[in-house]
């Protein structure tokens, strides 16, 4: 059997070109910062009061349990009005936004998110008094070893 050798230089140049072309768009830390700024309107982000629970090492990025808890009395005068969660490396920077009222009693929201890569997740809590509080978590995402072929 004769093996046809492609022009090696052309082939290598092609490989180089493919790796330089943008692949699926990815958010960057700057885009995440911009998304956060759009929510806070430039107000300072204070550290504290917010707890972000994520497994530090994730077996599969397709379903990652996440919980945001905010320390707040949840009274009419002092409550969390919204919780915003952002990510750094998925194709777009938003994860979810939840609106709460004093009726919540506890400012704790849990859900499951998708993570395309190891990255930082940021939670921002918006308070009735107008302040913004934040916490972040770094997650390492591994992938399952035996991947399925869809054919």
């Amino acid at each position: 059997m004769t093996i046809v050798q492609p022009n090696r230089r052309l082939f290598l140049a092609g490989v180089a070109l493919v790796t330089l072309l943008p692949g699926a768009a990815r958010a960057t830390a700057d885009e995440m910062a911009a998304a956060i700024r759009a929510v806070t309107g430039g107000q300072p982000l204070r550290r504290g009061r917010v707890k972000l629970d994520l497994p530090p090492l994730v077996e599969n990025g397709s379903t990652v349990p996440l919980r945001v808890s905010v320390d707040s009395p949840m009274t009419a005068d002092d409550h969390v009005t919204a919780i915003h969660v952002f990510n750094e490396k998925n194709p777009q920077p938003h994860v979810f936004h939840a609106s709460l009222s004093p009726r919540a009693g506890k400012a704790i929201v849990s859900t499951r998110i998708k993570l395309g890569d190891s990255q930082r997740i940021v939670a921002v809590a918006e308070m009735s008094g107008g302040s913004f509080w934040t916490a972040s978590a770094d997650v390492i995402v591994t992938l399952a070893a035996c991947l399925e072929d869809l054919t």
Binding site: L57, E59, P65, A144, C146, E148, D149
Partner: protein
């Protein structure tokens, strides 16, 4: 008094049971919590659908599963003793295959396609009442040659990577492969929600994943090889608790 009773219980278990471990133990606390909470376990969506299908009239007879079998809770113990020998087909069948057999013979309804949403839902719903029960493979002499075939498949090297199931799941269980712990591969939780699939799937689907992962040719769905393997694996897991419907990464 209680520690003494526990001690007696440990002695009563076969020695193997003390060192065998479900894939549940290889998961982190968050995924274990997901499996344990029926309100959060995504597989419960399929169980709910299966419970509705159980009550739906089907086929030429217009009968539902419930019309003959009553409440789905009466299925407790069934999943724990499958695969079982089918006299009608003169070979062992998995629970899903038995469901299809019943649809065809007793409801005169079309069989559900392998790995279809409906079949997975029905299988999961019918298996769920066995949750917490010990896996109890039937002591049926007719099953022996098929089980032996499964045992042979388990240790047979195949595919481009020339690996057998045992190479990973016996020789290297508990160690890491690409950051993930290699489980002992006990099918205690099937059908289960695999995060990788973002869906509930059967043991057959998982076995296919492994065959593809080791660069071996996967057998067609419902191939006798899968039934033989499942027979062997369930015997290997005898005494371990049914966890269906499980969650796995």
């Amino acid at each position: 008094m209680i520690p003494a009773l526990l001690g007696l219980l440990l002695l009563a278990l076969p020695a193997q049971a003390q060192t065998r471990q479900s894939g549940y133990a290889d998961m982190g606390p968050e995924l274990r919590a997901m499996q344990d909470d029926d309100a959060a376990n995504p597989a419960m969506l399929w169980v709910r659908e299966g419970e509705l299908l159980w009550r739906m009239p089907e086929g030429a007879t217009g009968k539902s599963c419930a019309d003959c079998h009553g409440d789905i809770k009466t299925m407790a113990g069934v999943a724990a003793r499958y695969p079982a020998f089918s006299a009608a087909l003169n070979r062992p069948v998995t629970l899903a295959q038995r469901i299809n057999l019943s649809r065809r013979e007793n409801q005169q309804a079309a069989e559900l396609a392998p790995e279809s949403r409906e079949l997975l839902a029905l299988t999961a719903a019918i298996a769920r009442p066995s949750r917490g029960q010990a896996i109890a493979p039937p002591d049926d002499a007719r099953l022996r040659p098929f089980r032996a075939a499964g045992a042979a498949l388990f240790t047979q090297r195949q595919g481009q990577l020339n690996l057998s199931c045992a190479n990973c799941h016996e020789d290297n269980a508990g160690r890491k492969l690409a950051g993930v712990t290699v489980p002992q591969a006990h099918p205690t939780a099937y059908p289960l929600y695999r995060l990788e699939w973002q869906s509930v799937g059967s043991l057959q689907r998982r076995l296919r994943n492994c065959l593809i992962g080791t660069r071996a040719e996967p057998y067609a769905y419902d191939a006798p090889e899968y039934v033989a393997l499942e027979l062997f694996l369930m015997q290997r897991a005898a005494g371990m608790k049914v966890e269906t419907p499980g969650v796995r990464p």
